[in-house]
Symmetry: C2
Subunit: 298 residues, 2 copies
Amino acid sequence: MPDVRLPMVQPRAGGGPPVFEKVAVVGLGLIGGSIALAARQVWPAGLVIAVDNKDVLEQAMVRHAIDVAADEPYVISDADLVILAAPVRQNIQFLQQLHEHIEKPVVVTDVGSTKRAIVASARALPPHIRFIGGHPMAGAARGGFAAARPDLFQGRPWIFTPHTDASGEALEKLMAFASGLGAMPKRMDAERHDALLAFTSHLPQLTASALMASIGAEAAEALPLAGRGLLDTTRLAASPAGIWQDITATNADRIRIALDALIARLTELRDHLDDAETIERIFDEANRWRERLMEGRE
Amino acid sequence: MPDVRLPMVQPRAGGGPPVFEKVAVVGLGLIGGSIALAARQVWPAGLVIAVDNKDVLEQAMVRHAIDVAADEPYVISDADLVILAAPVRQNIQFLQQLHEHIEKPVVVTDVGSTKRAIVASARALPPHIRFIGGHPMAGAARGGFAAARPDLFQGRPWIFTPHTDASGEALEKLMAFASGLGAMPKRMDAERHDALLAFTSHLPQLTASALMASIGAEAAEALPLAGRGLLDTTRLAASPAGIWQDITATNADRIRIALDALIARLTELRDHLDDAETIERIFDEANRWRERLMEGRE
């Protein structure tokens, strides 16, 4: 194992005491990278440790996002908080091995888009690994560290899914950490999280991907004619398969319910295209929910 | 019939000779209103005549979009060009009655989102009504005259669907008119237009409406958690039923083909959520088409 430790960055002056002294982020994508940037800005006295590949770590060093970094997990042995920010099933795998790298008590959370699978896998952890699932509701048009920004969580919900009664103090500290980064921490059952997100996040993603693939396959010559409507509706179609293979595999039952609901409605439209009443009913319903969705935004 | 003629607005100075001296716009929504605003700006020596209800006409007068206006069609009797800019089936109905209001030769076009139905209805018109179907590919987040803007057509395709060999001179003038308004005029067969637009416009609209209705019905409590992905994917869900009842009714066969293609892909995803290969294949395909869609934009 090569020594890839990168140079220490001096903590910046000022700021209050950090909620966690040493925060390790495993995976510096859009979310992990933004957490690192935000934590260093909010708590300059704290230390941000990162694990990712060397290319990403170099980008992060250039942007002063992290203090200590390596492409192997040995650097996290001293962390007070470990944040798993890789795709869901990599997070689960890493969580299972965490006790090999950390011997002292440590709080662990993740930022994955499904919660039941990782919460289930956390039930058998040794007691010094105090895991609470997490999911910051923040995103951007592009992923990866290049798109990371310290204000990504400002005003956004950050869900935590504690699964044991013993997690009181760890949960309190995690919620303070999320608040410190500008987010609005919320508690939610992992079951409920996955059922709701299947509709509000996973369904729109799969819809945008299926829509873009269908249009490309059947009407590619018309793409230059496309207007803003198609551009917006298919923006999510740029999302990479890698993250989503894990999300669909770990929330398949709930996503299936959501897809069935959409397919039923599309089929209803398909069978009633010249029935003004059906069109009006579904459009009116969509108008109302869209208005509700936009309440307090823009 | 009350005399609702509104005050004449003086044509502004400057500009080249108008392609059509007297342009009548029937329906001052986003598209009709933007045509009026653009035509008056580009050809101040020309006259813009409008037919709509009094509320809309007052808004248009305040914004100096039109010169002559009434809520009855008698004002268009002297027009050189009539642009039908109401919902598709209202345009068809108006087109059928046009000879009652205009006795001299006149060029007529429309701006509807389907072309076969109106083109078919135009085959039996008296010879002085020279109709060529049209469809400017321009839109905005909101509809109605309030959202109209003279630069709406700048750089956007504007499709014309001539259906007789006799339409040469009228087509040439219409294309010059569209170019004058900043658009890129294109010729296309009405059949092909409807087949392509079913995928690039009608399918995304119905998908956004069905998606928003499904999410609202099944996961309303999660709407405050929604991020930008859902907001973009459902932006079109704000579209009013009124326009779309006409579009879906006059392009039902083609929209059915598009919906079937999407439903097939959603069903494939539904049945393979834990199959990494299927997810990768459909996401990769969507990634590629999305890239193609964005070529030369942004």
